[in-house]
Symmetry: C2
Subunit: 441 residues, 2 copies
């Protein structure tokens, strides 16, 4: 709802959200569709979708003129493209799973809805059809916060199937849990033979400011001709439309709620930079390349009884016993700094030491990571750390907490406990970077 | 333990960790104290503490020469400074609480120990005595992972007392939970009259590469003459020794496990940059300044029954009922993206919606933040978000999860439930940044 003053003004002019209106403010004229107000802070400012697709907030004041032009009847509709096979182009399969990249704003309610068909996405970037022959499969279409491990398994199987007759695969996905899915696919797709490019959008495709177009274009180039056989996320590398990064699926994290360059590599460099014109600049020479002799195998087992626990001052370690009681098989602790939890606080009740020991003794695999995200944990430097690693908890090197969680669920879904524990701190899919031989510090 | 080959080599030469040795490798000669190996990756490399304080890893190979020079008897010892009052200098109180800045490495065991006296710190930076007259009080000396809210209360009281006769206060603190303490002091010290400068070190003071010296020096300048009346963290701004940032206590986070510039502002700019030569460059004109008419009051109530819950795919929302059952008063959820949790997953068991509703109805205050850390949550954009905010959960704007947790515990420790809920999303100590009037997006 707009503020009482603005609502009164709109009523007087017979304007309701969805109408095309003209606003004259400080001698400047703005024309656009009036959007409903719920999503923004200042309830005294009109929000207009301009013809160039941008939204703008305008605060009416003395001398502001307001005029109704016409009533907008419905939401934006897109033409659907016809996918025709063209000679000489490589095959690319799009595995469509949902998310903002497949959504548009309903101007009447202000809400965001799924597009009618995933092919509508491609209609936004017609030049994409010059890059490859596309096939679209859609195992699900959901918001990414609703993804479960069963969805990861379905996506892994769809990707593997697609790679049998495609050079590469694009997975369109909501951005919220995109990096969890990226980690899951990295582990589940063993012996990968081509690029698996996960992409999405921070802003829906009907917005002029949408990042969907360039993300799709760069992803298409990489999937069509990239010399890489890894799972990664391909999204804007900066807040402008210069190029995209392709970041390893086990080393990437959403680091901003709304910015187009929200996805950042953690403890790693991007694998490649891709320009919308098709130039691919490989940054990581250690990347796995195509054309090596491999056999793709889907290893999709997953044990969902794994928990990610963040430590903080006065966090009650009784939570560990709660998970023991529920029959959980593994816990990843997000410690502070190099992997600390409270060990000798003034109030003994808050010491995590005995609880971690009990978890390990009960047969759980306990991994330790850092809420710093960047850098490496180390179970040896300080006395408290040595006490924790003495319980049998496993320090997970420079692995992100989220990746460690997904890896542990995957390990326990496919291996015996002892093997899973042993493999947790060993690199499998680029999730752990080796140390350098000589450390200066 | 070193590798078997290296251990054999050391045994042959009668060398044990702690000995001063000479190594000739690739025609270069290194002299230093042999450190024990536990903390590093490559067990085949000798680790030497050189005379310049740096540690180096040296991998013995063909032609390497090894020689024992003398046996190191004990750990580094520092002179203590004598704190004498000098005319014309401002007063600064150091509230010493522990951490790496007050520690040194034990060369025999490789462990890190607390210094005998906090004054030993000052002996490392004798030029600091030209800046102010220092007094040292030490309410506790603990590793920061062992900090509890009771410690925050003690520190708040010590700071308030110190401010009655000091221009500013330096709090030395372990880095791991430093930003939690910074947030707690920001809320507990109401009507602050001078700078409260929290500092520490990522590397102990006996290391040539320690960041302690510059951090102490910059903190001393700011505490002695800074025109600011806020709580903040003053640590290295880059990996070189150029200058320190002073970052608002509610907007700062440890973002690297080991780097000296680990502390970064989140959704905010630093308040000031401080050079070790004493130059203070104020960046934030909105900062609270000294000399305004205020009365410092310690508002130290704290309700420890608050939890920080991170959402992730397949996270079981039953955890919320666990906290309801334990009589918790508040929960901060670290959602994904703009504050999402699963609402309509394929397996209903993983939907958080009903559980959050139940928590709010049971009288708990539930706040929503983002694990992206950067950016703002928004309970209105997507359907799932509107469903969550419809339960009465409070979207915490651009507040960090850790700050929101500390704020909620503080609010519930000093106010009635309804007031606490209302104040959670309103700015009190710089923890929430207002939106700009016109948003382009």
């Amino acid at each position: 709802m707009y503020s009482r003053e603005v609502e009164a003004l709109l009523r007087k002019k017979g304007i309701t959200p969805g109408d095309m209106i003209r606003v004259v403010l400080n001698k400047k004229t703005f024309e656009g569709i009036l959007l409903p107000r719920p999503e923004f802070g200042d309830q005294g400012a009109l929000v207009l979708k301009l013809k160039n697709g941008y939204n703008i907030g305008l605060k009416p004041g003395v001398g502001t003129k307001l005029e109704k032009l016409e009533h907008a009847k419905e939401t934006f509709t897109f033409p659907r493209v016809k996918l025709e096979k063209r000679e000489g182009l490589p095959n690319v399969t799009i595995v469509s799973t949902g998310g903002t990249i497949e959504s548009k704003v309903d101007y009447i309610t202000g809400g965001v809805h799924m597009l009618v068909e995933p092919e509508e996405m491609l209609a936004q970037v017609p030049e994409i059809l010059e890059i490859a022959n596309f096939k679209v499969v859609s195992p699900m279409r959901i918001a990414s916060e609703d993804m479960l491990y069963q969805n990861w398994q379905e996506i892994a199987r769809a990707v593997a199937k697609a790679l049998s007759d495609s050079h590469g695969v694009i997975v369109t996905h909501g951005t919220d849990t995109m990096h969890y899915t990226a980690a899951a696919l990295s582990f589940m797709l063993d012996g990968l033979t081509g690029p698996v490019v996960i992409t999405g959008a921070q802003r829906s495709v009907d917005r002029g400011s949408s990042d969907a177009f360039m993300n799709l274009l760069c992803s298409a180039h990489l999937a069509a001709k990239g010399n890489v056989a890894e799972v990664g996320i391909c999204m804007h590398a900066s807040s402008s439309d210069g190029f995209c990064n392709f970041i390893r699926g086990t080393k990437v994290r959403k680091m901003h709620t709304t910015k187009r360059d929200a996805f950042r590599p953690i403890n790693n460099r991007p694998i490649a930079r891709i320009s919308p014109n098709g130039a691919i600049d490989y940054i990581d020479d250690e990347r796995r390349r195509r054309g090596e002799d491999r056999k793709l195998r889907v290893v999709a087992g997953y044990e969902p009884r794994v928990a990610l626990l963040k430590f903080y001052p006065n966090s009650d370690p009784d939570i560990i016993d709660y998970y023991i009681g529920k029959g959980y098989k593994g816990i990843i602790i997000e410690g502070t700094g190099m992997g600390h939890v409270a060990v000798s606080p003034a109030d003994e009740k808050y010491s995590w030491l005995g609880h971690i020991k009990r978890a390990v003794e009960s047969g759980m695999v306990v991994g330790v990571t850092s809420q710093c995200l960047n850098g490496r944990v180390n179970g040896n430097v300080y006395r408290n750390l040595r006490l924790i690693s003495g319980t049998g908890a496993i320090y997970c090197e420079d692995m992100m907490p989220e990746t460690a969680l997904v890896k542990l669920g995957w390990l326990l879904g496919n291996h015996k406990r002892g093997d899973a524990a042993r493999m947790l701190s060993k690199n499998i899919a680029g999730e752990i970077t080796e140390r350098t031989e000589i450390d200066f510090f």
